[in-house]
Amino acid sequence: MTATLELLRTRTVAVRIRVGRTGYLLGAVCVAICTVMLLPLVLSVFASVKPTAEAAASPPTYYPHGLSLDSYQRLWTYQEGLPTYLANSLGTALLTIVLTLLLTVPAAYALARFPIPGKEVIFVVLLLALIVPYQALLTPMFLMFAKMGLTNSLLGLAVLHTAIQLPFSLYILRNSFSAVPRELEEAAIMDGASSWQALRRVFIPSTVPAIVTVALFAFIMSWNEFLGALVVMSRSSKFTLPLILATSRTETSLGGTDWGMLQAGITISIIPCVLVYLLLQRYYVSGLMSGAVK
């Protein structure tokens, strides 16, 4: 009996040690991965608060030897001022979210639930746009926008960003709508709900994670998108953040970079993305899963 107990104790200790070792090992791997992921961000923040001369030092220093907000100040007052560019980026991103949802929610609903002839073909055709790089569409779209007076307008840029985002959003939402139990929809119809009411009261509440995912992707894409904004906007007062970062960073005609200002811009532009991601992370992850495997 004593021997058995002793054996059990030994085994438990061994398992604990093994678990402990595995735990430490896993922890170390996680710390290593986090370091690799976070180091560039940390260095970027460090570089943004270096005094101008130190930010331009060659070879660069790893951590700031003095603190200065010069780089932020230069960016803050660049051309029309950073608040204008932040407002433009934010306005475009919000408009993109609204337009994307306005178009994809009804479309996905119809493709998921209505007996449309050849709807699978329609769905595949709509998804084909994923294969064509949007850069290839920019020139014709720009010429069309120029005729319609949509250049130099946030709405025009939001329309372009929506067009880029549509296929992916439709894919996620259509799959999510398909996954809503048919019984729920039937119950709503039995209670006298119209198609719109069913959409509003049954489908949308049960696909919130997917809708949040679509909104998040639209936000991040619009916030970071450069080439489309460059093509559509030609007035400094209408530039978005990526454009002004590309503009302000070049210091000489040979491509010389103002590193301090660039890092300050990067730091500022990361903040909204990180905030939105952290706040909605829960929905984001489950939304991705719901779109991917159903």
Partner: protein, 437 residues
């Protein structure tokens, strides 16, 4: 970045094609005679202007500010376009009719736009201006296409040999005598490198086509060589100077006179190298005077001319921007008046010279501001020996990161391939590019 560049090039090509198709066979738009030019606005209402970022922003801002102060009823609204995207953006603007009233343009791309009929021909309006007699020759060369004139200088960037006087003194060299030939340059570099402590005698940007045409190109010109093919059938890379300079640069690298890290320099930190205080001599531009001072206020430095093989030979690359009027502009009179304003004595002295930037007229270099600043006087000498390459395919032949010019230099710097083979390969590629234009 590469991917963005690829798409930008693709977009530019598409837009230029669309523009060319929609233009048909018409001739470049001419602005006609127009009213006599003044240095004030001809009408009222805001003028829109584009300029590339990474040009001389400080200078351009001052010029626009001076104009706006003088012309409060027709201020210029200036938009900086990202430097690497400027050519595509202009082509796209012209194709769609969404153009600014006037714009600053990297002078090197001007011939391409002039040939395509995308700039307004200003010959009848400005060619008789006396100010143009002394305007920067390099700028005026590229502002002219088939004897028609399309613009005037906005500002000038010239290359010269910057040298660290502190390091010269430590190496036992005379700090008031920069090298006047490549042989001297090599000897001085050896002595400075021998100081040790991470100090090198010279600097060669290993991965930057633009930096090399700006600073190594003049070494070849000063040695009697010609680099680019100006037009189809024109032979590029001629003269013994090409091989002599390539041999010189190869020897510099092999003898350890340049930092190992120079090999990856793609232009992004090129402007920071001289101010680091670790480089004895370096070909760079007048923009580096202010930058080096900000970066390293205690450093003593001087400026000489970029030499060639022969004693007292020298050359320089005149870069910078032109002011031009894009096709479709509705305010040509005002744009012309802005040009007149830029070339006026008052602006040349009280804006350009006061800010210690090069004047764009050679007869304006003797002014009170330059007299008080010997470094600017020294760099201004480069204007007299400078030149600007004239070709419709400058980007493809020279400036492209994948182009024959940079490939030739990299093979010369970092491989043991025969220099004759390297030159022959580059020559063949440049000719092929030029023949297609």
């Amino acid at each position: 970045m590469r991917s963005r560049l690829k798409w930008s090039v693709f977009l530019t090509a598409t837009i230029l094609t669309v523009a060319a198709c929609s233009r048909g066979a018409d001739t470049p738009p001419s602005a006609g005679q127009g009213p006599p030019a003044t240095t004030s606005c001809a009408s009222t209402g805001e003028l829109t202007m584009w300029e590339r970022s990474g040009g001389n922003k400080q200078m351009v801002d001052m010029l626009v500010e001076a104009w706006n102060t003088k012309n409060p009823t027709c201020k210029i609204n200036l938009t900086y376009i990202p430097h690497t995207e400027m050519v595509g953006k202009i082509a796209q603007g012209i194709a769609s009719g969404d153009v600014p009233d006037l714009m600053g343009m990297d002078l090197i791309y001007a011939p391409q736009f002039e040939k395509a009929g995308q700039l307004v021909d200003l010959t009848d309006r400005i060619s008789s201006w006396p100010e143009l007699q002394t305007a920067s020759k390099g700028h005026m060369t590229v502002a002219t296409f088939e004897n028609r004139l399309y613009g005037v200088p906005l500002y000038a960037d010239v290359s010269a040999l910057f040298y660290n006087k502190d390091l010269f003194t430590r190496a036992g060299l005379d700090p008031n005598k920069p090298p006047t030939s490549l042989t001297e340059l090599r000897t001085y570099a050896d002595k400075i490198t021998a100081l040790g402590g991470g100090i090198k005698g010279y600097y060669l940007p290993g991965n930057c086509a633009g930096c090399n045409i700006f600073t190594v190109g003049p070494l070849m010109w000063a040695s009697g060589a010609k680099i680019e093919s100006a037009a189809p059938g024109d032979e590029p890379l001629t003269g013994d100077g090409v091989k002599q300079v390539l041999q010189f640069t190869r020897d510099m690298v092999k003898s350890g006179n340049v930092h190992e890290g120079d090999r990856t320099e793609n232009g992004e930190t090129f402007h920071l190298q001289f101010g680091s205080g670790k480089v004895g001599m370096m070909g760079t531009g007048n923009f580096n005077i202010t930058l080096a001072r900000q970066q390293n206020p205690k450093m003593n430095f001087g400026i000489g001319l970029l030499p060639g093989v022969g004693p007292n030979s020298s050359a320089s690359f005149i870069g910078g921007d032109l002011v031009v009027v894009p096709k479709g502009s509705t305010r040509v009179d005002d744009a012309v008046n802005f040009m007149k304003f830029l070339l006026s004595d008052d602006v040349q002295v009280e804006v350009y010279a006061k800010a210690l930037n090069l004047t764009t007229r050679s007869d304006m270099v003797n002014n009170k501001y330059f007299t008080a600043e010997p470094l600017v006087q020294d760099v201004a000498k480069a204007l007299t020996v400078g030149r600007t390459p004239y070709t419709l395919t400058f980007f493809e032949q020279i400036n492209s990161p994948q182009g024959p010019w940079l490939r030739m230099l990299q093979r010369a710097y970092y491989t043991n391939d025969s220099l004759d083979t390297i030159i022959a390969d580059a020559k063949k590629e440049m000719k092929a590019i030029s023949d297609q234009s």
